[in-house]
Symmetry: C2
Subunit: 233 residues, 2 copies
Amino acid sequence: MSAVLYGVGVGPGDPELMTLKAHGLISQAPVVAYLVNKKGEGLAHSIAAEALNPAAVHVTILMIMAVERGPAMAAYDQGAEAIARHLEAGRDVVFLCEGDPFFYGSFMYLYSRLKDRFTCRAVPGVTSLTACAAELGRPLAARNDVLKVLPAPLENDALASELDHCDAVAIIKVGRHFPRIRGLLDGLGLLPHAHVVESASMPEQKITPLADVPEGGQPYFSTILIYKGSEAW
Amino acid sequence: MSAVLYGVGVGPGDPELMTLKAHGLISQAPVVAYLVNKKGEGLAHSIAAEALNPAAVHVTILMIMAVERGPAMAAYDQGAEAIARHLEAGRDVVFLCEGDPFFYGSFMYLYSRLKDRFTCRAVPGVTSLTACAAELGRPLAARNDVLKVLPAPLENDALASELDHCDAVAIIKVGRHFPRIRGLLDGLGLLPHAHVVESASMPEQKITPLADVPEGGQPYFSTILIYKGSEAW
């Protein structure tokens, strides 16, 4: 039996939104790996912390948010090699992923580096999108709605062409792009249909109609949900 | 304390992909409700079966798949009233939902009928989309990809205009529309990028490159994933 790298989705924030499978793997993992910031903190780790095997070895990978990709790719190279050494020694490794490992996640960077050498498996998790919809109390998408997930770093032209005809939209990775995105949605007449959800399912969660966020406002860790679909359910 | 209606996502099929929260609510629910076919079978119920409180009262709602909406809406009216009687008597009700309750789910039909009279909460779950991606072993979407979720019952023109410029696409509710969708994707040159995933995460799971499904083929319970995004991870 050769060792396995598991990319495990730990869900959007509330540890109770981990799956039974994730919880089982995490609580028994001899080695856990996860991204951290310069302070050594990582969201996926904090979500899973209570469930972790106290004897687990920790592998941390520094998350580098620069526009230039070289340093981040080098950090993944280094992290992948640290993980590879454990796998070669026969120790399973659980890589902790916020949300789901294959939904805009960082797991793909390790997966692409290791999948040809080792057995790698993704364990799906609850994404922040459906957590946002649950907290907002309305469908993310329903019936025959087209649902679009749009990363905020895309340019306004690309975003506008998708937003021009839409039923249901989630704008992710909003961060520092918030003022631009707010302006874009305002120009397209979409403000009345949009909500900002910050830190869905976590104690610091906050939900605000986008129209109520002041122009200079800058919500952090936020997703914008737009719903124009039929509400005749 | 008044009683609560919980719309609980039980995930895509593997009972281990239920969340801890779903499992806790399901195992303690005095009343469970779910959709059934004419044989009395329901997928959400079968996923949750092992976790159910043996003393729970069951409320079943007949799932009517006709194009004409009247009979299905009447079934939801009736189901909502049966649930309302339990809530009025102070008994919490857990409505079991495949995947996630607010991701193209049936929960919205009960939610819309009951939310103004009772406390209703959605508990998010793992959707079939991320389960499909996990089983396929590639990201559903990554980096700054636009992800589109397209319901197969939409007309070809509407689908083609979305497919014309896309990075990552999931076509859901394929069912009897399979031959038409296959033809559409073939005409757009998308066959080489598409996989069919049937019954993701369940024992009967099957994954096939769309190009390998014979033209008369008719996979059941299938989702089609298309990935044209960059694979330079």
